[in-house]
């Protein structure tokens, strides 16, 4: 895989500066509530970046992400119960999620478009039911569901979990950058536009999509595990819930799908949104859904995309729409 080093390094300095600044926040006394929101932002950004990779660049509208999040979380929790340190549990979570992605890629990759979407919708549902029934460890159940407490989570300080999340987030940003600016990235863009021409120009369509799927699963699993460490407990209905899909879809779409900086902008907005909607628990998802639909209809390029677009007119495209039948 060829890598264009100058392209890779472009714009890296401001990113490093921001990352260092963010890392210092808990040390310099930024208020705890801010830290928590930033924590959420890191998690959401990691998730959105990975979904952008799949949906924006590979044309895979994956509804399967909750499966990786939940698996990452549960792996970490189960390992914690048998004494594995949480950090290792997180990594194990990423590995398990990636392996699972390999497994389900068999049925799911032969599908395209809608078949792929519904196929990926089924997977988290299956896992939710399995984890509702299955009691992998004899530990104490949390609450009245099939939840588990995360053993040792209370020993992790806010600062530590903040840094964990920051690392996960930075990894996701670097991975996206690396993929997009290397050979793999160019391949992905043309696959999304037209798989058959891409294939005929020598790009291995399957391999590109496959690797992206695995990578996305791993980082998503990692983020999920980090999240559940901070939560302190995990239970199936919320771990594999479609709410996750809404979060990462919304973040990507608001910011701008298929744009490298899109998920970052979107994740900030989603965190703010959650803050605002926190007291309207019942309607929160409803409003998020309305926003999602509205943005897709009115400003499908997202915020970043709209900013870039202003000033470019497309008379040719309008002409095309006039004269060609669907």
């Amino acid at each position: 895989m060829k890598v264009n080093l100058p392209r890779l390094k472009g714009g890296l300095t401001p990113l490093i500066a921001v990352a260092v600044l963010l890392a210092l926040f808990p040390v310099i006394g930024v208020p705890n509530s801010w830290i928590l929101y930033l924590f959420l932002f890191f998690i959401y950004l990691a998730l959105a970046n990975m979904w952008n990779l799949l949906a924006g660049y590979c044309g895979l509208i994956s509804l399967c992400q909750p499966a990786f999040i939940g698996l990452g979380g549960y792996t970490m929790v189960i390992l914690a119960w048998i004494g594995v340190p949480l950090y290792l549990g997180m990594i194990a979570g990423a590995v398990v999620a990636a392996l699972f992605a390999v497994l389900i890629s068999i049925p799911v990759f032969r599908l395209s478009g809608i078949y792929f979407a519904v196929g990926t919708l089924i997977v988290p549902e299956v896992l939710r039911i399995i984890f509702l029934i299955w009691r992998p460890v004899g530990g104490a159940l949390y609450g009245k569901g099939a939840g588990y407490a995360v053993k040792g989570a209370t020993l992790v300080s806010t600062m530590e979990i903040y840094w964990l999340a920051l690392i996960v987030c930075i990894s996701s940003v670097l991975i996206i950058r690396f993929i997009l600016r290397s050979n793999l990235g160019l391949g992905l863009a043309s696959i999304r536009d037209n798989a058959s021409t891409a294939a005929s120009s020598g790009i291995n369509v399957f391999k590109s999509k496959f690797y992206s799927f695995i990578i996305s699963a791993a980082i998503t699993g990692l983020a999920g595990a980090a999240f559940y460490i901070s939560q302190g407990f995990i239970e199936p209905t919320s771990a594999f819930s479609v709410k996750w899909t809404m979060i990462l879809m919304l973040a990507t779409v608001i910011g701008g799908i298929r744009i490298e900086a899109g998920p970052a902008v979107g994740a900030i907005i989603v965190v703010i949104l959650h803050f605002l909607l926190a007291r309207y628990g019942g309607v929160s998802l409803l409003i998020q859904g309305v926003i999602l639909v509205s943005i897709m209809l009115l400003a499908p390029q997202g915020i970043v995309g709209s900013i870039r677009r202003t000033g470019t007119s497309r008379p040719y495209r309008a002409l095309m729409r006039l004269t060609t039948r669907r």
């Binding site: 089924i122 549902e125 019942g282």
Partner: protein, 290 residues
């Protein structure tokens, strides 16, 4: 041979077959829309659920039997479905490749949440007097409502088959789903045909919703399982084949009842879902379809 096991199995098998008819009915609507318009509305299951909730409200506030309430339910479902199709999804197609899916997903979430707000997360059911009756055949007892589901499904399927075969509009729907351009050249107004196919699909969805509500309790999230079941039936039986859809329905119905019999009620959907995934992996175009 342990006779007890056999008689034990007879009930879930019989119920699975009867249930299969209903599942085929849910899938028919999806199949029509997908075959003709080449799109699956991910919110289809939630639309079916709308019919269940509507019937519930009409039943509890007006005392009208759910099946009779279809007189109101069918047009409502058609209007809602049509509005979603025309004003949201159709525009989505011109925006980008991923737009229709994302928007349909958004609509699904909106509907689910709307149901939760209006009807609370409590599980509901269409409990009528006859829904609780059971009848005996060959030594086993089966809830009457299952038989009703099956009969309705068969009647609807026969009706659809004859309609597609014998009428001009029916043939036009078949033609438009096979080759859109050629059917336009034959003088078929494909927009009108699509609207009609869609209307039929919504009517089927309405009927399915009522009978599902009579058969099982439902929650705001039930739409997702309806969608997966319908999708599974379509994948199993193939698009465009009514007989195939029926067989697909039978498989899903049996998967659910036998799954519940062997693994317990919590796992009944699990077997069905796994079968869908396995079939998707093996033959995405369906076992029987084209």
């Amino acid at each position: 041979m342990n006779l007890d096991v056999l008689t034990g199995l007879a009930t879930p098998i019989a119920m699975g077959i009867l249930l299969g008819g209903l599942y085929a009915l849910i899938a028919l609507g999806l199949s029509l829309v997908f075959g003709v318009m080449k799109l699956i509305n991910i919110a289809h299951g939630d639309l079916v659920l709308l019919s269940s909730y509507l019937a519930f409200t009409i039943m509890t506030s007006l005392g009208i039997d759910p099946i009779l309430s279809l007189v109101i339910g069918m047009p409502v479902l058609f209007v809602v479905g049509f509005a979603i199709q025309r004003y949201l999804l159709n525009r989505a197609f011109r925006i980008s490749m991923e737009a229709p899916l994302i928007i349909a997903f958004g609509i699904s979430i909106i509907l689910q949440n709307l149901y939760q707000i209006v009807w609370t997360p409590l599980s509901r059911g269409l409990t009528t007097s006859y829904a609780l009756e059971s009848f005996g055949v060959g030594g086993i007892r089966i809830p009457l409502v299952y038989l009703l589901d099956f009969i309705v499904a068969i009647v609807v399927m026969i009706f659809l088959r004859e309609f597609l075969r014998r009428t001009y509009l029916g043939k036009a729907i078949s033609a438009a789903s096979q080759d859109r351009g050629a059917s336009q050249l034959m003088g078929i107004n494909t927009n009108r045909v699509y609207a009609f196919a869609f209307a039929i699909a919504m009517v089927f969805a309405a009927i399915a919703g009522v009978f599902l509500g009579l058969t099982f309790p439902f929650t705001p999230q039930s739409g997702v399982s309806f969608l997966i079941i319908a999708f599974g039936v379509v994948v199993l039986g193939g698009l465009g084949s009514i007989v195939g859809t029926f067989i697909g329905g039978l498989v899903m119905g049996l998967a659910q009842t036998l799954g519940g019999y062997f693994l317990g009620a919590a796992a009944q959907m699990l077997v069905a879902y796994l079968i869908v995934l396995i079939v998707l992996g093996a033959r995405p175009r369906g076992l029987l379809g084209r």
